[in-house]
C-alpha cells in the first residue's frame, strides 16, 4: 500500500514536471512574445527591443527555463513579465477565488447528481428516469458558457437578483465574492451533474440487478434499506472516478466561465497570461493545474480502494 502510494506520488511529480516543460515549449511555439503581444500595433522595432531588454527576453529559452525551474523547486515562481508582481502571491489569491467556485460546484453537483442518479436508476425507464435522463442529456450538450449566458439573462437582467459580472478584484474579501459565485456555480454544476448522474444511474441499475441485492430483498429488507445499505456503496465505486475526472475538468471549465462572469480566478488569469505570453504566470498555473489533476486521480483511486475490499486485498496478494 505504502509502496503503491509512493510510486503514484513519484509519477505525479514526473507528470507535473513534464507538464511544465510542455507548457514552456508550447509558449515558445506560439507566434509573438510578451513584448509584441503587450505592445500590439505599437510594436515598432524600437519599442519591442526596449521592452524585451527590460523583461530579460533576450536570453536563450533553455536558460530562462532553467532559471525558472530552480526557482520553482524552492517555491519561488518568479515575477509576472507583464505586471512585475510576484506570481505566487497573485496566483494564490486567484486560486482561493477559484476554489470558492470549485468547492461550491463540487458540493452542489455531487450531492444533486447522486440523488438524481439513484432516482433515475431506481425508476429505470419510467417517467422520473425519462425526465432526468433528458435533462442531463441537454445539460451535457449545452456548453457551459451558453448556460452561463442564459443564467445571466434570467437572473441578472430579466429578474435582477444576482450580479451579472464581478466588479471586485482578486484581493476582495471572500464575503464580497459570495454573491458572485452563485451563477458560475450553477453554470458549472449543470454540466458536471449531467455526467455524474448518467454514471450513477448506470451503476445503480447494474447493482440493483446483482445477486446480493436480490438476496437482500429476499431476506425481506425494505427498499430504502436495500438501496442505502447494500446497493449504494457498490454503486458509488465507479462513480468516484467520474467525480474525480470532473473535479479535474473544473480546472479547465472555470477558465471560460470565469471570463464570462469577469470572475477574478485562475481561469481568467490563465487566459490573460496566454494572451500576453506571460510565461512565469503560465508555468505556475500549469504546475498547479497538473498537480490538482494528478492528485484528484490519485485520491479517486485511493478512495476506490478504501471502499472496495477486493481491490485492497487484490493489491496485497499481487505483491
Amino acid at each position: 500500500m505504502i509502496v503503491y502510494i509512493s510510486r503514484r506520488l513519484l509519477s505525479a511529480v514526473v507528470t507535473v514536471l513534464l507538464a511544465s516543460v510542455i507548457v514552456f515549449a508550447a509558449v515558445q511555439l506560439l507566434p509573438g512574445d510578451v513584448a509584441t503581444q503587450v505592445l500590439g500595433q505599437d510594436a515598432t522595432p524600437d519599442a519591442v527591443a526596449a521592452l524585451r531588454e527590460q523583461m530579460g527576453l533576450n536570453r536563450p529559452a533553455v536558460l530562462r527555463f532553467l532559471d525558472w525551474i530552480t526557482g520553482a523547486v524552492r517555491g519561488d515562481f518568479g515575477v509576472s513579465l507583464v505586471s512585475g508582481e510576484p506570481v505566487s502571491a497573485t496566483l494564490w489569491l486567484h486560486l482561493r477565488n477559484t476554489m470558492l467556485i470549485a468547492v461550491a460546484t463540487i458540493a452542489v453537483a455531487v450531492t444533486s447528481s447522486i440523488v438524481l442518479g439513484v432516482v433515475a436508476g431506481l425508476y429505470r425507464d419510467r417517467w422520473p428516469d425519462t425526465v432526468i435522463s433528458t435533462l442531463t442529456l441537454i445539460g451535457m450538450s449545452v456548453p457551459e458558457f451558453v448556460v452561463a449566458t442564459l443564467l445571466v439573462l434570467a437572473l441578472s437582467i430579466t429578474v435582477p437578483v444576482l450580479p451579472a459580472v464581478v466588479l471586485d478584484e482578486a484581493s476582495a474579501p471572500v464575503a464580497d465574492l459570495l454573491p458572485a459565485i452563485v451563477l458560475p456555480t450553477i453554470a458549472l454544476s449543470v454540466v458536471m451533474t449531467a455526467y455524474i448522474v448518467r454514471m450513477t444511474r448506470t451503476s445503480v441499475i447494474d447493482v440493483m440487478e446483482s445477486e446480493f441485492v436480490t438476496t437482500a430483498r429476499l431476506k425481506g429488507l425494505g427498499t430504502g434499506r436495500v438501496v442505502v445499505r447494500h446497493a449504494l456503496p457498490s454503486a458509488l465505486l465507479p462513480t468516484l472516478n467520474v467525480i474525480a475526472m470532473n473535479v479535474a475538468w473544473l480546472v479547465g471549465g472555470v477558465a471560460v466561465v470565469e471570463n464570462v462572469f469577469n470572475y477574478p480566478g485562475v481561469g481568467r488569469m490563465l487566459l490573460e497570461a496566454v494572451h500576453n505570453r506571460d510565461l512565469p504566470v503560465l508555468q505556475a498555473i500549469a504546475v498547479v493545474s497538473a498537480a490538482v489533476y494528478v492528485l484528484c486521480n490519485l485520491a479517486a483511486d485511493l478512495g476506490a480502494m478504501a471502499l472496495n475490499p477486493r481491490l485492497r486485498t487484490g493489491e496485497r496478494s499481487a505483491r
Binding site: 503587450v38 500590439g40 515598432t44 437582467i157 435582477p160 478584484e169 471560460v256 471570463n259
Partner: protein, 532 residues
C-alpha cells in the same frame, strides 16, 4: 502610434472564443428579449445616432467598463502602455482637437510661429493648478515635450515628434510662455500636440506619473490598479470648472460579453473603447436599461496591400483592386449602413484638409488593367480575424464585389490573438482598421510616409514624401490645404491601401447617461453626467 487607444496596449484581448461568446450571448438575448424576438435584425429600428443630452443631476458616480490594456498598463500618458480612459479625465494637453477637427486651446491659450514655421511660441493659461496644488507653468510643458521625444521612453508619439523637437531647444522664457525651436519647419506642429500621448505632466514627475496620475484635468486620481479597477473623483479647482459628475469608477473587463452583460444588468453605465457587433447592439438598444450611441466616423477600415509583395508591387494591380469593388456594397454588408464611403482616402470626410476626390468604380477597367499587368484571373488570399466584428463581413463583401472584375479572392480567417504580430504588415492582403482622430498631417506621415513604422502597406514614393514636406513648410493655409489634398490624391491613385469606409463606433451606455460625447480621441469628461 496606434490605431486605437484602448487597443493600443491591449490589442486583441478578444480571443476568438470570446467573440463567439459575445455572439452566443446576443443570440440568446435576441431570442428572449421582448420586442426583439418578433422583428429580427432586418426589421429592427435604426440604431440611434447621438446620446441623450440635457441638464444632468448634480454629481453622481458613473461606472465605466473598459477593456484593460494589460497588467502592465500605466497612467503615464506618454507610454505605449497607457490606460487610455484615464488620460482625458486626469490630464490636459496644450491644445486639443475641436469637433470640426481644428486645433483648439487647452492649457495653451494662443500660439504662433515665426515666418519660417520653425519657432513656435505658446502662451499658457494662468492660474491652472495640478491636482496636488502645484501651479502649472511652462516648465511642466517643456518637461512633457522633452520626455515624449526621449528615446529611452519609446513613446509612440516620439516617432512623430522626435524628428521635429530637439530637447535642448525647448525654452521657457517666462512661466507663462513656452518656445519650441523646431529642427525643420512645420506649420502643422500644434496639431501634432493634440495627440493623446501629449498630456501635460508635472515637471520632474516622470518616474512616478504612471502611478500618481497627477494632471490638470477635470478629475483627480483616487485609486488605480493596472488591469484592475480604479476610481477618479471630481477636481473642483479644474480651470474649466468642476465636472458634472462626482466620480467615475472604472472596471476592467477582458471579455466583451462580460462588458455587455454588466451594462444590461445595470452594473455599469458605459462601455468604453468597444465597438459592439450589430446583433449585440440591437439587443442593447432594445433593452430597458441601456441604449446605443454612435461615435461618428470613429474608425476607418482598410484592406492594405503590401506594396513590397507580389503582385502588389505593380501599381496597375493596386489600381485594379481599387476599381474592382463597390464600396456601397461593402458598407451595406459590413456596416449595415452605419458608415460612409472612404473612397480609398483615409482622411475623414469633412475634416479641414479632406478632399472629396474619388475614383468611380469600374470593374471592366480593372479587368483590363490586370490583363495589361499580366495578372488575368488574379487569385489572392485575404486575411481576416475575429479581432473586430467588421473584418470578416468586409472581407467577404470585398470578395463578392471584386469577383465581378474576375478577381478570385479566398478569405482566410486567422487567430485574433496574434493578428497584429503575424498578419498585419506580414501578409500581402488583410483586413484592419484605425481609429480616426489624428490630424491629417500626422495620419499621412505616420501611415503612408516611406519608412514610417506604422506604414502598413510599406508604400514608398519620394514624390509623396516631398509633397508632405512641402505642405509642412507652407505658411499659407489654403496653399497648404491644396498640398495635403494632392497627397491624398496620390494615396487614392497610387497607394496600397484600399479604404472602403469610415464606420461609426457603436457604444453601449445606460439610458441614464446624458451628454456622452466622443469623437476621435476626444472624450467630453467635463459634461457627461447622469439623468436627474
Amino acid at each position: 502610434m496606434p490605431r486605437s487607444p484602448g487597443a493600443e496596449g491591449a490589442p486583441p484581448r478578444i480571443p476568438r472564443r470570446t467573440a463567439l461568446l459575445g455572439g452566443a450571448g446576443a443570440l440568446g438575448a435576441a431570442v428572449l428579449l421582448p420586442g426583439c424576438a418578433a422583428s429580427g435584425p432586418q426589421a429592427a429600428p435604426a440604431l440611434p445616432e447621438a446620446a441623450a443630452t440635457g441638464a444632468t443631476a448634480d454629481g453622481g458616480v458613473l461606472r465605466m467598463a473598459r477593456p484593460p490594456a494589460s497588467q502592465a498598463e500605466t497612467l503615464d500618458p506618454a507610454s505605449s502602455l497607457s490606460a487610455y480612459e484615464y488620460l482625458g479625465a486626469l490630464y490636459s494637453r496644450l491644445v486639443r482637437m475641436d469637433a470640426e477637427g481644428q486645433t483648439a486651446p487647452d492649457l495653451a491659450t494662443e500660439w504662433e510661429s515665426d515666418d519660417a514655421g520653425l519657432v513656435w511660441t505658446f502662451r499658457l493659461r494662468d492660474g491652472v493648478r495640478f491636482h496636488d496644488g502645484r501651479g502649472f507653468t511652462s516648465a511642466d510643458a517643456a518637461y512633457t515635450l522633452r520626455r515624449i521625444v526621449d528615446p529611452g521612453l519609446a513613446s509612440p508619439q516620439g516617432t512623430v515628434l522626435g524628428p521635429l523637437i530637439d530637447p535642448g531647444r525647448v525654452h521657457t522664457p517666462e512661466p507663462g510662455v513656452l518656445v519650441v525651436e523646431l529642427t525643420t519647419p512645420n506649420f502643422e506642429f500644434p496639431a501634432l500636440l493634440t495627440n493623446y500621448h501629449c498630456y501635460v505632466v508635472p515637471d520632474g514627475d516622470g518616474d512616478t506619473i504612471g502611478a500618481t496620475g497627477i494632471g490638470t484635468g477635470p478629475f483627480r486620481l483616487d485609486s488605480f490598479s493596472p488591469g484592475g479597477r480604479g476610481r477618479i473623483v471630481a477636481y473642483d479647482d479644474h480651470w474649466e470648472g468642476p465636472p458634472a459628475l462626482d466620480a467615475i469608477e472604472m472596471f476592467s473587463m477582458t471579455d466583451i460579453q462580460a462588458r455587455t452583460n454588466a451594462l444590461l444588468a445595470g452594473q455599469v453605465d458605459l462601455i468604453s473603447q468597444t465597438n459592439l457587433d450589430f446583433a449585440t447592439a440591437r439587443v442593447v438598444e432594445a433593452s430597458e436599461r441601456a441604449t446605443i450611441a454612435r461615435s461618428v466616423n470613429a474608425q476607418w477600415y482598410v484592406l492594405p496591400m503590401l506594396t513590397t509583395a507580389e503582385p502588389f508591387t505593380d501599381a496597375r494591380v493596386r489600381r485594379a483592386m481599387k476599381l474592382a469593388y463597390d464600396p456601397g456594397h461593402v458598407i451595406d454588408v459590413a456596416l449595415q449602413g452605419t458608415g460612409v464611403p472612404g473612397n480609398d482616402n483615409p482622411v475623414p470626410p469633412d475634416t479641414p484638409y479632406w478632399t472629396d476626390y474619388a475614383v468611380e468604380r469600374d470593374p471592366d477597367r480593372a479587368r483590363a488593367l490586370l490583363a495589361e499587368a499580366g495578372h488575368e484571373g488574379l487569385s489572392l488570399e485575404l486575411y481576416t480575424s475575429a479581432y473586430d466584428p467588421v473584418f470578416t463581413p468586409m472581407a467577404l463583401a470585398y470578395r463578392d464585389s471584386a469577383a465581378e472584375a474576375g478577381i478570385d479572392i479566398t478569405v482566410r480567417n486567422t487567430s485574433a490573438d496574434s493578428y497584429y504580430t503575424q498578419i498585419w504588415m506580414q501578409k500581402p492582403l488583410m483586413a484592419t482598421y484605425w481609429y480616426t482622430g489624428r490630424p491629417a498631417d500626422q495620419l499621412l506621415n505616420q501611415v503612408f510616409r516611406s519608412g514610417s513604422s506604422y506604414n502598413e502597406t510599406a508604400w514608398s514614393d519620394g514624390a509623396f514624401d516631398d509633397l508632405l514636406d512641402a505642405a509642412r513648410a507652407t505658411a499659407d493655409e489654403d496653399r497648404r490645404r491644396t498640398l495635403y489634398q494632392d497627397a491624398q490624391r496620390m494615396v487614392v491613385d497610387e497607394g496600397g491601401a484600399m479604404t472602403p469606409m469610415f464606420a461609426d463606433r457603436l457604444v453601449g451606455l445606460s439610458r441614464d447617461v446624458l451628454n456622452y460625447h466622443e469623437s476621435g480621441f476626444e472624450f467630453d469628461y467635463l459634461n457627461i453626467g447622469l439623468r436627474p
